[in-house]
Subunit: 289 residues, 2 copies
Amino acid sequence: MDAIKRIDRGMEKAIAFATARGRPPILADALKYAVFPGGARVRPRLCLAIAGACGDKNPAAADSAAVAIELLHCASLVHDDMPCFDDAAIRRGKPSVHIKFDEPIALLTGDALIVLSFETIARECALTPELIGPLIATIGRAVGMPHGIVAGQGWESEPEIKLEDYHKAKTAALFTGATAAGAIAAGADPLPWMPLGNALGAAYQVADDLHDMKAESGDMGKPCGQDANFERPNSVRELGVQGALEALRKRVEEAVEAIPECKGADMLRALIRNEATRLVPKNLAHTAA
Amino acid sequence: MDAIKRIDRGMEKAIAFATARGRPPILADALKYAVFPGGARVRPRLCLAIAGACGDKNPAAADSAAVAIELLHCASLVHDDMPCFDDAAIRRGKPSVHIKFDEPIALLTGDALIVLSFETIARECALTPELIGPLIATIGRAVGMPHGIVAGQGWESEPEIKLEDYHKAKTAALFTGATAAGAIAAGADPLPWMPLGNALGAAYQVADDLHDMKAESGDMGKPCGQDANFERPNSVRELGVQGALEALRKRVEEAVEAIPECKGADMLRALIRNEATRLVPKNLAHTAA
């Protein structure tokens, strides 16, 4: 089965559990709305690709990790879009959860998705119980305090932010977690896979900064210019467009070089180079070529 | 070591992990503020009492479950107090997290505590990895969708609420989770312990309703009259003060009778009867006697 099918099937199973009989119906609808239809499912695909490159010995564990990572990513989008953060009315080309529903429902949707992600690993790894602790500790570290997504968002409340620390926590941590979790699920050592996640995360952050400054809203399915609105660090403001494009190219090459020797290395290199072409905003593609 | 010391030591260890070097300092301060000094730590004490009654074979697992439950309870208070829900400025006798800090920090504090709770079980159960899955599945069910705390809060957005479903999810679920997790941590079957948690949760909900309608703010460390303000179901409005006091007495007796036969049964019965006297608002104590 291809990766997207595995991810979608896992997401549907998780959401079916969370919206079973006895649920409050509006919140249940909001959970579905927040995760379907999905975006590019980049992080769970990365997780499954690493699991595959390591032999995919425990596909149910890999699927549960991929689903948990995507649920957490969706939760972070729902909370980030709320009025007290980005106040973004559009996400994935449709009204954000707090616009379609309301603020209380958006807050609860994020909370429910966070809980569901850890529950999913606990429930779906019955055949490999020894993997549950390492998977949850690894994925938890990627999203919580002191160095995960929540910490990255927390840096926005500080009077001074260091661009690298901020981006590492806000974006790269979940990529690093996705590579590590993929390896763990396959029974492999996660450490050699973490530099790859880190480099990919950095590439995605530069790409996101380019989109925020240079893309048009229609391309993104979300508002642009948010970093300037909120006076947040942005690599394009620091390096200029050409500098940021060059940084993106470098990060992608670092990612490709960080792939450990393994059976699936060629497949992974191709996957990442292909994915990288998708990262440059359309109106800059000629400049980057 | 007594239960409160075990809980406090576990909470300190968890918070030290989440606020380690590299953290965003303001959010780190908010995490500490949200959990110290604690309230009565009722749910984690219940969890440890059940683990003890079942032989407390794996004290580290019991401690991690108790800490996870209290972190989730604290997270739910931080989010519930926010302007889009109860808009409560006081909690445990001091300014709520969103007042002392701000809304973004309060939202992130709740998120970080939820993640930390599951991480804590994953990290602290290294000696009993077979317990991690059952503990996280059980505690996750008590807080998430479709029947946990988040679902309970979700019912407040519905046009019609059934009092029992609402209270079961919003309050009783975490008590039931606490008894079940205590049994699981001790290697015992959780099922016989769940009716006790359910009855205790119902007792606490009636007590909370009585406090909300009849206590003075100083007694509670939080605002009163919130249910009327938000037109939420409240047993005192449904049953009157005498009816609610009678319902409370009944729930406590149900809880005492629900204790399964075990070595620690006498200890547990005494604990619950003693705890029950604490539940009646001071200005109603003569009426209830």
